[in-house]
Structures are given as structure tokens and as C-alpha cells.
Symmetry: C2
Subunit: 351 residues, 2 copies
Amino acid sequence: MALLPLPEHQHIRYNPLRDDWVLVSAHRMKRPWQGQVEKPVQEDVPRHDPSNPLCPGATRANGKVNPEYESTFVFDNDFPALEPDAPEPDVGDHPLFRSASAQGVCKVMCFHPWSDMTLPLMALPEIRAVIDKWAELAVELGATYPWVQVFENKGAMMGCSNPHPHCQVWASNFLPNEARLEDRTQREHLRAHGQPMLLEYGRLEAQRKERLVVENTDWLVVVPYWAVWPFQTLLLPRRHVTRLQDLSADERESLASIMKSLLTKYDNLFEISFPYSMGWHGAPTGPYLGEDCGHWLLHAHYYPPLLRSASVRKFMVGYEMLAQAQRDLTPEQAAQRLRSLPEEHYRTRAQ
Amino acid sequence: MALLPLPEHQHIRYNPLRDDWVLVSAHRMKRPWQGQVEKPVQEDVPRHDPSNPLCPGATRANGKVNPEYESTFVFDNDFPALEPDAPEPDVGDHPLFRSASAQGVCKVMCFHPWSDMTLPLMALPEIRAVIDKWAELAVELGATYPWVQVFENKGAMMGCSNPHPHCQVWASNFLPNEARLEDRTQREHLRAHGQPMLLEYGRLEAQRKERLVVENTDWLVVVPYWAVWPFQTLLLPRRHVTRLQDLSADERESLASIMKSLLTKYDNLFEISFPYSMGWHGAPTGPYLGEDCGHWLLHAHYYPPLLRSASVRKFMVGYEMLAQAQRDLTPEQAAQRLRSLPEEHYRTRAQ
Ligand SMILES: O=P(O)(O)O[C@H]1O[C@H](CO)[C@@H](O)[C@H](O)[C@H]1O
Ligand SMILES: O=P(O)(O)O[C@H]1O[C@H](CO)[C@@H](O)[C@H](O)[C@H]1O
């Protein structure tokens, strides 16, 4: 049987980080779309809105007044999913009815005092301030909590309920599913292959280039071989860094720069403020700080929902929920499109 | 430390079928919602639209003309994600770049000739015809394919691009992720506990009642202890049936009846045609037909996206994608709400 080049025909690909598979059916992009069309992404956000609880000087739900902050600003989520003092639940009386305690902290972090600002439009020192604050929170919350999840929901399409540029940081007394999974797969890979999985993967992608989106001395961004979302990317350091707080000053500078490049390309893809959920994964903290976490490599996942245009998203529904993720273009096609986009933002270019 | 009742405080619950956890933060329902509001669900679908490719007598994308069908109607998806003759891919040259062949069949199945019909509004014999057709396809495609995924995406919110009542059936030459996972967990449970997991689980839920939504002699519907979506349900037979095709005539009758009850309650919850993705999971087929699959119990999952109202959905985004699913009301609260809803459809009541 002849071995045909991958892009032409449907096949499945293995995701070694999640130990699962994705169905790649590149030819599905050809089908007409008569389904739901998304509302236009809001582009006319007012710079300052005193009634927006994330703005400098605004009053929040709990009556507290925000300071007139000029860079980042961190506060406790007024409707936290995790609280530090939640009592122990009844642990359950049967193996099919098991529960366990969930304690933690939910913080909100504003990136910038202006509501009409986004990361790709921010200056490099401003992005660097965000990175430093992430590292600071990772140290502070990671002192006791085993997992500190930094994540950003961007755009109403991704459930973000406030247009002001911000992310969230949720720390928990348990390792969440994705953390447990990546801990296991990376540990097994190191044991079997003698190299941290993502360090080896990044080196190979830097050579192969077909899935590269952008790179610099310290970092690279790829559409991973096993990407599920149409324009999903993986941001990897070149050095064996396991946690955000371990990044050197130079690596933070170059991280600001590669984030700006990636997010500019994302915005340029459909000439909108590109929606996504993103988050950082690194070695666990708290009690794990004293353990060997050499199988980990710090990385960020970007999961953008859009598929065809600013208004047509990928629905991860029926087959995806019940059976397996399915994508409609190859990771190589997505990488090529992102790679070829300009690094100057469409909004500054237009001026 | 005092053991407090579960509903009041956040905790995590274990899902034995997926071997993962969900964060339950019941108090999150109190937070105000300023995020995306969904478009109203389309309620004025024309009964017959000759330009709709799913209607009787309509011409499809490939030029074929649908028969003037009067019950169910099955045809090959004109834009299939899986095709029977896809060539073998290059299997990859490295453990981090693994791919495998994907071959299969994608069918579309119309439930009824009218576009303004939905399952809960259909008569019991009409629903029974759908069930018989599911079983027929499970036999036909399951003769060779190891997995036959029957699923329905209902509503534009769930990526459904055509309002005509229909489901899809995708058969593949591989076991998809969810199938592999449930095969493993059910196998391990039988080995460790001597009973099929879901048979044991169903019996316990029938006794405990707090998560029951509706039941009859052969079936029960629960909001599972580990439900992720706000109004997620699990439909279970009381007998140890492993595949759709093994249901007796009586069980098919009572299945039609319990589906009608459940879907009527769903529609009554917010008085709209309730969106969801649903699908059947049963023992694998093809080469597995000759193997012992006694650890399996046939079941259907219903995953509805709505949370607060007809227009406010649950977003499974940042924390959920990067860390762990999180829900904003307890499964017991959801079950109680569904249980208390009338079994007469709001549209027939209004007449
Ligand atoms: O096949 P359809 O209805 O056009 O498409 C829908 O269901 C598929 C299977 O769940 C998904 O892959 C698509 O994203 C969704 O839009
Ligand atoms: O916390 P927010 O932004 O109000 O809420 C958003 O992010 C949360 C964390 O990913 C999700 O649980 C919510 O469904 C989503 O709407």
C-alpha cells in the first residue's frame, strides 16, 4: 500500500502530552457552512468606563474601590470558584461516589489600565510587567498550593465577560486533571527516552520547521503535530525551564517579544481582536517544590475557537464530545497560514 | 473537622467512567452575568423547505434527490470526516510524531419528514422507528467497524447547521478516545468489584433517588454524580445490555417513552427547543464482537450547554480547558429542577 503525504487524506495523530488522538480530516474545510455565525468581535471598547469593575478607580461588587493603577493590578475574584477555607466534604461512602476537598484562591489580574488595550498592542515593557507579575504570583501562591493555573479567556466567544484586558490565576490544593495527565505523560517519556518530552519535541520542531509559527533565541511557537483547535499553538522555551518563576531576565524579555509576535499574527489572521483561551503549565508547586520535576518543561497552550473567518468557529460538539476531537485543516496548513502573516498589527499598519 | 453537606461548599468529585475529576462550586451561580448572550433558539422552522437538503424530495450537494420519505431516512454525509478508502498514512518516523490510518463511514439520519418536528414532539411509534434504525445501523456498520458512534447535535449553539431533526452515525476503524477510556475504566471496575460499573451505579442511583430525573421499568435517567455540564444526564438500562442492537422490543418501547419524557423536561426547563449533544456508547463491535465485553453497559450521554436561561450558556473555557471542568450548581440541584418539571411539553400544553 502506497504511503501518501499526510495533508491529503484523513488520518489520526497521537498527542503524547495528553495520551490521546485527534482525527485530521483536512478535506472537511470544503463543506459549505450554514450554521451559527458569531457576533462581530467588539472593537470599539471605551478606554475608561467607571462602571466597569476592572477599571482604575472603579468600585467592585464587594464595594472595594480599585486604585488608580498604571501597570498591572491584581485582586481577589469577587465570585471565586475556589476559596481557601472551604470545609472538608463528606468523602463519600462508595467508590462510585467519591469526593474530595477543594480549597484555593482565585485572582484576577488586569494587564493594563486601559480597557481598549490588548496584549499585542501593548509595548514590550508593559508585556514584560505582566510576565513578571505572573512569576510573582506563581511564587506567592505556589509556596503552598500544588497547582497555580494562570489563564486568559479572551473574547466574548470564550466566555470572557469583561472586555478589559485581564487574566485569571486559580490556585488549588489538588492537581487538576490536565496537570495530572501531563505530569504522568512527561514522567513516562523521560523514563523511556532519557529526555524531557517537550524539550525533545521543541528541538525537533525547530529543525523540521513545517509547524513553526515564530521563534527567537529563547522561545518557539508551533502548531503542535497533534493540535485540536484549528489555530492552536504551543509556546515552548528552548532551555530546560520547569516553572515561570525560573525564567531569566533575558528570557522574560524575549517572551514578551514572542508573545507580541504570536498575538499580532493571531489578530492579523482575520483582522479582529482574536479570541482564545490560553494558559501556562509548569511543574507543580507547594509540596512538589522539594521533588524532582525534571520531566516537566514550562509551556503555554493557546486554544483559539475560530475556524474559517471572524464569524465561523469550530464547534467541538457531538463526535468530539462523545468520541474524539476532529479537525478540518492540517496543523501544517494552519502553521503555514500563521507564519506567512505580517508581524505588524493591522491596527497600527492602517494608521 | 466537621463533615458538612456537599451542596453548600466547593469540592471535587471523581468520574469513574473517565477517570478524572470535576470541581463543583455551587455558590458560583450567584455571580452576575455580563458576558455573551446567545441568539434566541429558532422556533419558527418551516415544515418543508425544498432548498433544505435534509427534506423529502430535496436535492443534496452531490445532486442526488431525497425520496419522499415518511419516517426515518439515512444517507451518506456529503462532507464526511471519515471515508472507507482513505489510504494508509506515513506512520511517522518518531514517537512524538505518530499517526495512524483513519477509515470509516459518516451517515446522516433524518428522524422525521417535517423540519419543525423534534424528538420530544414526535409520537412514541415515531421515536421507536428512530431507535430501530439506530440498532439496524449499529449492526450494519458494526459488522466490520470497531466503533459506531451515534450522536445528535441539536441546536445552532451546538454547531448544528440544519434545523431538520436528524442525527449522525460515524463508524471508524479505530476506537476513539472516549471509547478507549470507557473501555479501560469499565474493564478495571469489573475486575476490581465483580460487577459492571454502570449496572452497579444505576442500581445505587435508583435507590438513592436524589439524582434521578425520570425512570421506568427498563430505564433510568440521572444527572450523574460527576456531571460536568449544568444539566448533563446519563441514560441507563436496568438490564445488563451491552449494545443498542441487543435491546428487546419492550426495551425499545420503554426507551422511546423515557426519551420523550427526558427531552420534554429539557424543553420545559427554559421553554425552548433545548440544545444538546447526545450520543450512545456501547461495547465495541467489528473484531470485538467475538470478545467478552461484559464490562460494558450500553448508555447515552446528554450534554446540554445552557446554564442559567435560554440565552446564557456555560462556557467550558480557560480553567476548564487548561486545568479541570468546573460546574456552578450541584448535580443534585440540577436533578431536582429537572425532576420537578412537567412531563407535558410546553408547546402542547399551551394549545
Ligand atoms: O457535521 P456537521 O453537523 O456539519 O458539523 C458539526 O458536527 C461535527 C461532528 O460533531 C463537528 O465536527 C462540527 O464541528 C460541527 O459543526
Ligand atoms: O470567571 P469568568 O471570566 O466570569 O468566567 C469564565 O471563565 C471561567 C473559568 O474558565 C469559566 O468557569 C466560566 O464558565 C467562564 O464564563
